[in-house]
């Protein structure tokens, strides 16, 4: 099974080179990484996938940017916004992941959108950075949002991804650490393993059987 950290930021954005992050990821039980604004590669037996984050408040801009990126094999991530924006996002073709749901209003992702995400195979990202780095009430709010997302996920079974959002090797966590952190908001072992394998499924989606000869 492919185990992927769904977003990391390497040098010069962070303080660790992509090679060092790949080496650390291999030690930590990952076999692929999504490097934001990086390039596709294979380093130390770890597959590096290119990730593109689109952050705009206008859906037309997002559609335009996705059209530009569609030629490459990039994983397209979009920062979530308000309810209507998120709902429009679910109709956009070529989008893979909606991230930063925890930064939006608690009503910006509901059961209707959860069903749509499941139908269209658009993944929702769980960013573990705020759970590890925030303290007090902001972390409580993030845990609440993630708890709600996990409840919706177990009902509607939309794809989920897990990301460390690491800017340094000091911020990267092992697959087991991720599982332990996810247990804080009620995500079970099976769900975590499935979430870590989602990027692999995005890269090789199910297609109808083709007759080759």
């Amino acid at each position: 099974m492919i185990t992927t950290d769904a977003s990391i930021h390497s040098y010069p954005e962070g303080d660790s080179s992509i090679g060092r992050m790949a080496l650390t990821a291999r030690e930590f039980g990952f076999d692929s990484l999504v490097a934001i604004d990086g390039k596709e590669d294979e380093i130390f037996d770890v597959r590096i996938l290119r990730g593109v984050v689109l952050a705009s408040e206008r859906i037309q801009d997002i559609i335009g940017q996705i059209r530009k990126e569609r030629q490459g094999n990039a994983i397209i991530l979009v920062n979530a916004g308000d309810y209507s924006f998120n709902r429009s996002l679910l109709h956009v073709k070529g989008l893979h992941i909606i991230r930063h749901i925890h930064k939006t209003h608690k009503k910006s992702f509901d059961h209707i959108m959860a069903r749509m995400a499941a139908e269209r195979s658009i993944a929702i990202d769980i960013d573990l950075h705020p759970v590890i780095y925030l303290r007090g009430s902001p972390r409580q709010k993030v845990l609440q949002r993630y708890c709600d997302l996990v409840r919706l996920q177990s009902r509607f079974e939309f794809p989920m991804t897990l990301s460390s959002n690491a800017f340094s090797i000091l911020e990267q966590r092992t697959a087991r650490d991720m599982e332990m952190i996810c247990s804080l908001f009620g995500m079970e072992g099976g769900q975590v393993k499935e979430a870590l394998a989602t990027i692999g499924k995005i890269c090789s989606p199910r297609r109808p059987v083709q007759v080759v000869e």
Binding site: Y11, S16, S17, R20, I169, L170, I181
Partner: protein, 161 residues
């Protein structure tokens, strides 16, 4: 006071932790305060008092954290969320949990971390920097930043010949 007989004492568990970056010299008291802060923030004072945590050893890039048996899961979760000790950026990686300190110390001897290191000059981004070379591919470079010295985590491939 007469010591309590062993059968009446609480059972304990010891968690072996690897400290990244390994060359940092961290005081065991500072480490204890950082872990306790994370633990209290995550699980509250009640669980913190139940866990009876203590840092019993901290040297050579490793630390051993003691707690009451049954609480090691919570301690491990708290260890994941520790990110600074005494204003120094660190990451704590759990390596093993055991019922005795001896077995953890044997593990450190059998699998030392980070192994042999060597301080040498290296060229990165056109600048001559001091670098810690580890066994294998890892190199930590102390580069000059805008305000102060910056620590970069690289590999041999990233350095210029």
């Amino acid at each position: 006071m007469k010591p309590r007989p062993p059968t009446m004492r609480d059972k304990r568990r010891y968690v072996l932790v690897r400290i990244d970056p390994p060359f940092l010299e961290i005081d065991s008291r500072d480490l204890y305060l950082a872990i306790l802060d994370s633990f209290t923030s995550l699980f509250g004072d009640q669980h913190a008092s139940e866990a009876q945590m203590a840092v019993v050893d901290c040297r050579n890039g490793h630390a051993i954290v003691r707690c009451i048996r049954g609480q090691e899961g919570l301690v491990e979760k708290a260890l994941i969320t520790v990110n600074t000790v005494n204003a120094q950026r660190v990451a704590l990686r759990t390596r093993a949990t055991s019922g005795t300190m001896h077995s953890l110390k044997m593990r450190i001897i059998r699998q030392p971390y980070p192994g042999a290191t060597e301080e040498r000059k290296a060229i990165f981004a056109g600048n001559l920097c001091v670098a810690n070379h580890y066994q294998g591919q890892k190199v930590d470079v102390f580069a000059k930043g805008f305000k102060n010295q910056e620590l970069l985590f690289l590999t041999h491939r990233d350095l210029e010949e």
